[in-house]
């Protein structure tokens, strides 16, 4: 029986390894860019800011500014968005009983895109910098509630009807976005650029916003970790095992969508991270959501940070991050999907 208790221990080793890798990725990527800064200098800047002690007198003050005010906010936003999208992916895949679901399955991205396009079209400026994110967020949340209302029959939410409702609403919104683009004339480039996602010029307030969403998402996901596992058995079984499936599903759908909506409002639409990360991590730690949630958060953070660093500091010109994740993630996903299909046949 001793092997049984070991079998269910949290994957401490994996979490530590990924945590260290993430810290390393943050420090290294903060040194990369037009102005090359060594990881040691980056660490010095971070230490000075965190501990409140002054930097050495011979230290170039531009380095401090570039690392702390320019690069770190962008890097941390990218990492937090990546982690949040991955956790939202775990949630959606578990709730919808579908390993191919992602944070955008319920049309959240289309809603956000519609909201953002609308704000850009009518050129709203009374909320200054935040008008587009706010509209995106409102669009995502409104879409979620329309989809939930469409899918629920006397308080129940079937997984099939949920996915179908998401697809229907997303299709209508896509047409709406097309119409906005048609009306937009010269603004169309701005809309298209926003839809492709970007982390350029993110600030500490963006970091704080996503950090709050990520923490809330992690706590809620972790709280319902075991219930999520049991919900994989289907509603009739999970109800009989003591999980209030309908209620839990609703809470987690709303939580996952709000986390996603916050991410979208900060960074635009970034696909495939929420789909691929949980998928990959399931190969390593298995399907237990209590293990999958922390591990996916860290892996998602590393993946999106790496992708953003690639487009920011390595590629000759900046490719929109949403395009990059789709270009790398899409074929990669086809590969693992195909491999799994063949494996299932043999």
């Amino acid at each position: 029986m001793t092997d049984c208790s070991r079998h269910n221990r949290p994957p401490y080793l994996m979490i530590t390894a990924l945590g260290l890798a993430l810290v390393l990725a943050i420090v290294v990527s903060a040194g990369m860019g037009y102005l090359a800064i060594t990881p040691l200098e980056v660490a010095q800047v971070i230490w000075a800011k965190v501990s409140g002690s002054p930097l050495p007198v011979d230290f170039d003050p531009t380095f401090g500014y570039v690392v702390w005010e320019v690069r770190l906010p962008r890097i941390l936003t990218a990492a937090l968005v990546g982690g949040s999208l991955a956790v939202a992916g775990v949630l959606f895949q578990a709730i919808l009983l579908n390993p191919l679901a992602d944070p955008y399955t319920l049309g959240v991205s289309s809603g956000a895109a519609f909201g953002a396009s609308l704000a850009l079209l009518i050129n709203i400026s009374f909320l200054s910098l935040y008008s587009v994110p706010l509209f995106a967020f409102a669009g995502a949340v409104a879409t979620l509630f329309v989809v939930l209302a469409l899918a629920s029959v006397d308080g129940r939410l079937g997984t099939g009807t949920l996915i179908l409702s998401g697809v229907i609403v997303a299709a209508i919104l896509s047409a709406g976005i097309g119409f906005i683009k048609h009306l937009a004339d010269e603004q169309v480039a701005v809309i298209i650029f926003w839809l492709m996602g970007s982390f350029a010029a993110r600030t500490w307030s963006h970091v704080m916003l996503v950090c709050g969403a990520a923490l809330a998402g992690l706590v809620i996901a972790f709280f319902f970790g075991r219930d999520l596992n049991i919900m994989a058995l289907g509603q009739r079984s999970s109800d009989s095992l003591g999980v209030d499936t309908a209620r839990t599903r609703k809470i987690l759908l709303v939580a996952g969508s709000l986390v996603t909506a916050t991410c979208v409002s900060v960074s635009g639409i970034i696909g495939f991270i929420g789909l691929i990360t949980p998928h990959l991590m399931r190969f390593i730690v298995g399907p237990d959501n209590r293990k999958l949630i922390p591990v996916s958060f860290l892996a998602g953070a590393i993946l999106l940070l790496a992708a953003d660093t690639l487009t920011r500091a390595v590629l000759p010109s900046e490719v929109p991050i949403g395009v990059l994740t789709a270009l790398i993630g899409g074929p990669f996903f086809c590969y693992i999907f195909r491999k799994k299909q063949l494996h299932a046949l043999s």
């Binding site: 029986m1 049984c4 208790s5 079998h7 269910n8 009983l97 579908n98 390993p99 709280f223 075991r226 596992n229 049991i230 994989a232 058995l233 289907g234 009739r236 079984s237 109800d239 009989s240 095992l241 003591g242 999980v243 209030d244 399931r282 298995g286 399907p287 237990d288």
Partner: protein, 260 residues
């Protein structure tokens, strides 16, 4: 006071009435069979009893309290379900699936205790799925999956076990194995309510049979009384002979397979 009591239950899906005026009571230490043709309302009745559906009319009480006053978690400590079909998109190992039966007994964030491991170990040994413990559920055959699900319900260790045609996909050996295991639970004071298609299986294992026809309770009582040839002819529309089978020491039914 019976453990579970249903009083004058009716249920309909829209204009189609599925159950009419069903009353029954379940007592400890008894094995109950729920029989009836396809579409006679067996699964709907079970769904009402496990609070998966709410009756349009009538009342259900569990240990004297209304069923609706129980939380899901409290209910899951009183009754377990072995569903008819089982499909899972995620490849959990068998041991984790069986341990899910302990969910209502384990506090949130707590790890399974010695009693939880003992219960799952016993359930897996009883149904001989312990050698599959580390295998992925998605890699098992239909029959193996069904035994794992039955083991999960046994590990739940509830006074009442509800089986919804739980052995429909099993071969005869494993069917007998599951029924012998749950029969032993009944001897120890447990209650089993099983929807069964095989009349002879029901006659051999059940103490009492509820026979449904078109949503109404046609008969209730010991197998030899309920499963009489004229009533089987009326409810199922087949010809048969019934007799006491000395080999099984039970009432059994022989069907007329071909028109003479």
């Amino acid at each position: 006071m019976p453990f579970l009591k249903a009083d004058n239950l009716s249920f309909d899906y829209g204009p189609r009435q599925v159950l009419r005026h069903i009353s029954l009571a379940l007592e400890p230490g008894r094995f109950y069979g729920l029989l009836g043709p396809n579409g006679s309302g067996k699964t709907t009745l079970l769904d009402l009893l496990i609070a998966n559906l709410t009756p349009a009319q009538g009342a259900i009480s569990l240990q004297g309290r209304p069923l609706a006053s129980y939380s899901r978690r409290q209910l899951a400590r009183q009754m377990a379900l072995v569903p008819q079909e089982f499909d899972l998109g995620f490849d959990f190992p068998v041991r984790d699936i069986v341990m899910m039966g302990r969910h209502p007994h384990i506090r949130r964030f707590a790890a399974p205790g010695p009693e939880d491991w003992a219960c799952t170990g016993r359930a897996m040994a009883d149904l001989q799925v312990d050698r599959l413990a580390d295998r992925s559920i998605t890699a098992l055959s239909g029959g193996e999956k069904q035994r794992v699900v039955a083991a999960r319900a046994l590990a739940q260790d509830t006074p009442l076990l509800i089986m919804d045609e739980a052995t429909a996909n099993l071969d005869i050996r494993h069917t007998i194995q599951i029924f012998q295991v749950v029969r032993r639970r009944v001897e120890e004071g447990g209650i089993v309510l099983a929807a069964i298609h095989d009349l002879n299986l029901a006659a051999a294992f059940c103490d009492e049979i509820f026979l449904l026809k078109e949503g109404g309770l046609q008969a209730a009582g010991p197998p030899e009384e309920v499963l009489a040839a004229p009533r089987i002819a009326e409810v199922f529309g087949v010809r048969c002979q019934t007799s006491f089978n000395a080999f099984n020491r039970s009432h059994q039914v022989a069907f007329q397979w071909r028109r003479q």
